[in-house]
């Protein structure tokens, strides 16, 4: 009868290996998960998603002229316009068909632009604010949820 002479690793090394593996796997999962969250960015020291609640603006549309006034203390970097027609809807950036200020509307700022040519035959629009925040990769643009938008019947 042969005697098995193979010996296992010591309990200390096994524990160290186990702990090291758990730490490495934990770090990998954490960094991977954080990648999703960092996409949104930060503004005023909090997640930019929460800043959307503080956006406060008025808008009006008449005779082809769209007017927007930023009453709040959150600068509005851009504005997405969700345009509804009988066929459905499309979302456009206000910059695509107007001379929206390059750095957006600061607190108290106003905008006026003629976009009547793009909205003829449409039913309504929803103005959705877009903010700019910071992330590890620099400035990051974030579009707020539609619930923070401003609806105008055309």
């Amino acid at each position: 009868m042969k005697k098995n002479k193979k010996r296992g690793i010591s309990p200390v090394i096994a524990t160290v290996l186990l702990v090291a593996m758990v730490v490495v796997i934990g770090l990998i999962i954490f960094l991977w998960f954080r990648g999703f969250v960092e996409e949104e960015g930060m503004k005023f020291g909090k997640n930019i998603r929460l800043v959307c609640e503080d956006v406060d603006f008025d808008a009006s549309y008449s005779q082809g002229n769209l007017k927007i006034v930023n009453n709040g203390n959150v600068p509005i970097f851009r504005m997405k316009i969700k345009i509804f027609s009988e066929a459905g809807y499309e979302t456009k950036d206000i910059k695509d068909f107007s001379d929206w200020p390059a750095r957006g509307l600061n607190s108290g700022g106003s905008f006026s632009g003629n976009i009547g040519g793009y909205l003829s035959g449409k039913e309504k629009i929803i103005l959705i604010p877009v903010l700019i925040g910071t992330s590890g990769k620099g400035e990051k643009v974030f579009k707020c949820e539609e619930q923070y938008g401003y609806e105008i019947d055309i």
């Binding site: 702990v19 005023f44 020291g45 009006s60 008449s62 007017k67 927007i68 709040g72 203390n73 108290g108």
Partner: protein, 163 residues
Amino acid sequence: MIGYVLLITVVVIMGAIVYAWLKTYVPKDLSECPDGTSISLKDIQYDCANTLSLTLKNNGRFNISGYFIYATNNSLDELATIDLSPYNPNGENGVIIFQGPFGVAPKEPGREWIDTFNLSITPSFPGQIYSIEIMAMRYQSEDNKKRFVSCSKSKIKQEVSCS
């Protein structure tokens, strides 16, 4: 023993990282004007050409450092978006900031003053003023920094007629 030490250290470090990250999700108030900040328009003198003169009053309970002023030039515009600040020596980018010998000089509660706008400065005002909108602003200290804060609740709108 080493295993326990490592495990606890790692758990503490990861806990600190997750705490710092989750803290960004806790809502905190953005600096805003205190309730009771107000500005009123006591008188308007407009010659329907080049000069607009406003008598304003801080009728609130807090100092104000300036105000935003926009105008409309027809009755169909619901929102005033024509910037009147370039027509006043203390104005820029839509806002008039009260200046004193040592920089910004806020107006205290109860104070009345007159601001004049020379509308003939190039580019001159397009057409004739129909209405004006005014909203107070303040500088507020926050974390040892002065922050520019607009007071949306103090916004007033007034139609303008020739006098």
